[in-house]
Amino acid sequence: MEKTTIDLWVGIFVAMGFAALLGLAMKVGNLTTTNIGETYMVTANFENIGGLKPRAPIKSAGVVVGRVEGIKLDPKTYEAVVSLNIDKRFSFPKDTFANIYTAGLLGEQYVGLEAGGDENSLKNGDKIIQTQDAVVLEKLISQFLYSKATENDDKPANTAATSTETGADALDASPLDKIGK
């Protein structure tokens, strides 16, 4: 079969295409960095997962050790069942603590594992019992406001108590007046 220059150019063209794909895979994509080999799956129940999504990273001491495989709702307990795919190279004690953290102030959410002290380690299909829910900003704010409000409620009560001690006009000092002040 005779070789022509066209064949050569097409060969170069196709080779360049493969090289570019390889470049994308190695240099741009995460094929090399998150190449998790064999994994084992454990589940963890959370009352609230916030904005956690499937494929979110699982980190221990800041190092990525796996990915969130899936999230379901338990129809009986109304808890979120998160299945975690963890690299086989890392084994965690049975009493490992699973938290949901947020990367930065507005970043994505991830599962943080804090190893416990148990001698037995988690196996495929096990369940992490100790979990801590995601911090929901609205809840935090409402808690803060609630505590502020109770502080304010305490103050008028105290002043009212002192005023009853001091004088006769205590009856006139209704709470409405206090709010007005």
């Binding site: 064949d7 196709v14 994308l24 995460n30 960095t33």
Partner: protein
Amino acid sequence: MRKIERLLKNLGAGFINKMWRFGAGARLFGLTLVSSGESFRRFRLTIREVYFTGVLSLIIILVSAFFVGMVLALQGYHTLQKYGSSEAIGVLVALALVRELGPVVTALLFAGRAGTAITAEIGLMKATEQLSAMEMMAVSPIARVIAPRFWAGVIAMPILATLFTMMGILGGYMVAVPLIGVDAGSFWSQMQANVDWEYDILNGVFKSLVFGVACTMIALFEGYDAPPTAEGVSRATTRTVVTSSLAVLALDFILTAFMLG
């Protein structure tokens, strides 16, 4: 009253004509698939067409990719800088190119550079009765002329889109790192942390494959269907660009909705 009647008639005729052409295009697509055995048995034919549609489009693809990447980095830096996250420039450039701009802009350029050439070539072959001559010699023009060009387009398009993406990222790097002074390490590491091989890169390649099928098939059909006159061929060439561009943008929306959904 007469005017309205004529308007409605024209509208209906136009719609029926469009549907007829759509059906005829689909039939040609089916015939091409059925009779594409020839283009693989005589692979030399396909390689020749890969040279004309792919290799000769390289210059325009690579140069425009480089500029698109550079502009992306410049524009992105201006906005990201306001939020104090100029290191995210790598992610911005890479995701924009891998997911959208790579496949779409390549397909638009491909329609303009290679699609028009295909339409004009086949239209002229028809006008000079070369296709009829082939039929007279019991050579199927679909197997001999259409199918190799179709497969060449399908092969060339993903390669071109991948090269476009890679070149665009290089262009973005050139602007972001040496020119603006973003740290090279964070440029690449943020990119690697956020671009996914399967969800971003392979989906982008799949998109370009679909665009390749659509663009090449539209160009082939317009050429095959062109009236055998000088005016007919020129109109068919224009229609190729218009229809391919619209098809690419509409398909892009559909594919993106599926991929993100």
